[in-house]
């Protein structure tokens, strides 16, 4: 659905709110996620998830009700508004409620700077798959040790619009994210080692599949040739690399 059509449908919420004497806000979101998973040097999953929907927040005498729908048609939006209003009627009043905002807390044109890359947003699902294949080609050409790649490459485009009955209006704010988790496994005789790297950027230009794969493959291969030592358990000072620090919150506060 084109943004103009979706906005036209959602604007009816504002007139419904005015008629009911309540405040209302619409958050309209479109997400397009392309995700390619490579395991053992082949693409095993290629997904394109397209999400589109609206969330409505109704404020009635300082009590809030929320509702969401992903069917952007007049009757569905109206039902969502009625549902949010019903929720607001039963919710507790927020102390010192000063109303829905009248303007965004920034004068910038874009709320988050440098968060959008048009080139990345315009990539089709099969172009993202092609980027994954490029990573594979670099792994295969890397070294004499047998290397296998397991990776997830995800490209996300989001666009949101927000407007309310107090005149706030911010339309079509886009953002992009490119995320990749690369695991390279190096094998030599009976020895096998893996190395992993995660990558996240807003822009396609910051992603260099060749160097990303090269770095991980080199790290996996290096471990193959290290002398074997057994260390007994003891208390010791430790120095954590930024990568290890990064993994601590996700391990101790759950994955995802």
């Amino acid at each position: 659905m084109e943004l103009s059509e979706a906005l036209e449908v959602c604007r009816s919420v504002i007139s419904l709110a005015n008629r009911e004497g309540v405040e209302a806000e619409v958050f309209l979101l479109k997400r397009d996620l392309k995700s390619i998973r490579i395991t053992s040097n082949e693409i095993v999953e290629a997904q394109n998830i397209v999400e589109e929907g609206a969330a409505i927040r109704v404020a009635r005498n300082g009590s809030i009700g929320l509702s969401a729908t992903n069917t952007l048609q007049h009757d569905s939006i109206e039902n969502a508004f009625i549902s949010a209003l019903r929720m607001a009627k039963s919710s507790t009043r927020i102390p010192n409620w000063s109303g829905l905002p009248t303007q965004l807390p920034t004068s910038q044109e874009s709320i988050v700077l440098n968060s959008y890359d048009e080139e990345l947003a315009s990539k089709s699902p099969d172009e993202i798959a092609e980027l994954s294949l490029e990573m594979l080609r670099h792994v295969n050409g890397h070294s004499s040790s047998s290397c296998a790649l397991t990776s997830v490459l995800m490209a996300l485009f989001e666009e949101f619009s927000i407007f309310n009955s107090n005149g706030l209006e911010h339309l079509a704010e886009p953002s992009t994210i490119l995320y990749s988790r690369i695991i390279v496994e190096a094998k030599e005789a009976a020895e096998c080692h893996t190395a992993m790297k995660q990558f996240c950027s807003r822009r396609l230009a910051d992603f260099n599949p060749e160097s990303a794969v090269e770095e991980v493959a080199r790290s996996a291969t290096q471990v193959l040739h290290l002398p074997k030592r057994r260390i007994s358990k003891s208390k010791s000072d430790v120095i954590l690399s930024p990568q290890r620090i990064h993994s601590i919150p996700s391990s101790s506060h759950g994955c995802g």
Binding site: T39, N48, I49, V50, L133
Partner: protein, 480 residues
């Protein structure tokens, strides 16, 4: 949207993909309505509702998978456009394919089924009025205890779901069910010690009985426990190896992390390329790993939010023996892993919505009860620790070593439950702990995990896990 329309769209998607030379296609359409509240201190903090409809289409073209999902406007044009995207992705993937996708055969099914107790909850009846009084009753009971309660919160969500599945084998299956999920927690504080005590719950069908009868009792119980915990001591951090008795809820979390996930077939296949990180079950599949009185099952017919009659690939769900008399006998399959194992698919493919491709997932995974009464287990324990309720799990990528904190713990001495302990953590090595099990209780209970996560993009699903009280040996440490 009525059932006929949903089924018609699913058919159209399948037919169109076949006309575009897909070798296999399945379409899943889901309509979901839900509403929920968060009530804290007897007042509603948040209330919201959602109505979601959408479709996911999966195709095999030239031996490779392609998938696309959409959620706004299931018009003919939109459906075709999404099918085209899935086909394009499959074609691209097929450029780099080592072994073409193979799926195990399954029965073609035409049916419409309803979940147990699932005459639909009229969503318009699920208003604050229906939950506020029971929630306030919970709060009254929590606050009547003492001044130690810092905060309490109840989140409660109900939903009703219609899922239509059609595939190019000719299956057309529609399942409809409704259910509820929630979490209640209490934070108590005394003399500088704060204790957080959460409890997840969920069920199928109507929720009134649970709200009116069970929830206030549950709230009072966990509030009492949280208060008692603040006045309890803990053990030293340095862990000691001892006899441990796990209650059914602690056992549930242990089963989930150390046996459930490692017996999902895609993980057993070594992540297809990362055998070093394959679960501990990989090397011992088909072997004896526990004594003969230990058996583990996965059963989607248990009436929890993980219930399903057909999985998300249209395969009839069934009880799956995973460990029988101590021997690993099977695992949880989707059609692709079943083909790799050369076995019949067993209906274990699940996904949280049409936005995700199904993968092997637990439904209700539990230890088969034995014949020990709880009292007998305690009386038979000379010295040890009794843990009640699992809190936070931590396992390595192979689920070989585990570490789980307990909500409550007690010293067991000379066959009696004695002093309460707080902040106790159990740890161990999975195969060693399995071998050490010497008592399996008769008191089976299934606990709800509302948000088990797997995959990338991550897929969050409710699962049931459980067991009876069990006794084995593990490391026990505290927070001192």
């Amino acid at each position: 949207m009525d059932l006929d329309s949903l089924e018609c769209i699913a058919h159209e998607a399948v037919d169109y993909a076949l006309s575009r030379e897909a070798k296999y296609v399945d379409a899943r359409i889901q309509h979901e309505e839900g509403a929920g509240f968060v009530v804290s201190g007897g007042e509603v903090e948040e209330g919201g509702s959602a109505s979601l409809t959408g479709m996911g289409v999966r195709v095999i073209v030239d031996g490779a998978w392609g998938f696309c999902s959409t959620d706004n406007g299931l018009s003919k044009l939109n459906v075709k456009e999404r099918v085209d995207r899935a086909i394009k992705l499959a074609r691209k993937s097929s450029e780099r394919i080592i072994s073409p996708v193979e799926m195990a055969a399954t029965k073609v099914t035409h049916t419409r089924v309803k979940g147990p107790n699932s005459d639909f909850i009229p969503m318009e009846d699920f208003t604050l009025a229906s939950i506020l009084e029971p929630a306030r009753e919970c709060d009254r009971r929590v606050r009547s205890l003492r001044g130690e309660i810092q905060t309490s919160s109840l989140s409660f969500t109900v939903g009703r779901f219609i899922q239509t599945f059609a595939n190019s084998d000719g299956s057309l299956i529609t399942q409809a069910y409704s259910g509820f999920l929630g979490t209640i927690y209490v934070v108590a504080s005394s003399s500088g010690v704060s204790e957080y005590y959460p409890h997840d719950f969920g069920g199928l069908g109507y929720y009134e009985k649970f709200l009116d009868d069970d929830l206030p009792v549950l709230a009072e119980r966990i509030a009492r426990k949280a208060c008692q915990l603040t006045r309890s001591r803990t053990l030293q951090k340095t862990a000691t190896f001892q006899t441990v008795v796990m209650d059914p809820h602690f056992a549930a979390l242990w089963v989930h992390e150390t046996l459930g996930h490692p017996l999902e077939a895609d993980r057993l296949l070594g992540g297809r390329g990362d055998p070093q990180n394959a679960p501990w079950t990989y090397k011992v599949f088909g072997n004896k790993v526990a004594s003969e009185f230990f058996s583990l099952l996965d059963d989607p017919s248990v009436e929890t939010p993980a219930w399903h009659r057909y999985d998300d690939e249209g395969v009839e769900a069934r009880k799956k023996p995973l460990i029988t008399n101590g021997v690993i006998k099977g695992c949880i399959h989707n059609r692709e892993t079943a083909a790799a194992f050369r076995v019949e698919p067993n209906g274990g493919a699940r996904s949280p919505s049409y936005h995700f491709t199904p993968m092997p997932r637990m439904s209700n995974t539990y230890i088969k009860p034995g014949d020990w009464a709880l009292d007998e287990i305690i009386e038979d324990t000379r010295e040890g620790i009794y843990v009640v309720g699992g809190m936070t799990p931590l396992v390595d990528s192979r689920a070989y070593e585990w570490r789980i904190s307990a909500k409550e713990a007690y010293i067991v001495a000379k066959g009696e439950v004695k002093e309460m302990l707080r902040d106790i953590i159990l740890s161990g090595v999975t195969p060693d702990f399995l071998i050490s099990l010497d008592a399996i209780g008769e008191d089976l209970q299934i606990a709800i995990t509302p948000d088990c996560g797997k995959g990338s993009p991550i897929q969050m699903l409710p699962v049931g896990n459980g067991g009876p009280t069990i006794r084995g040996k593990a490391y026990v440490g505290g927070a001192e």
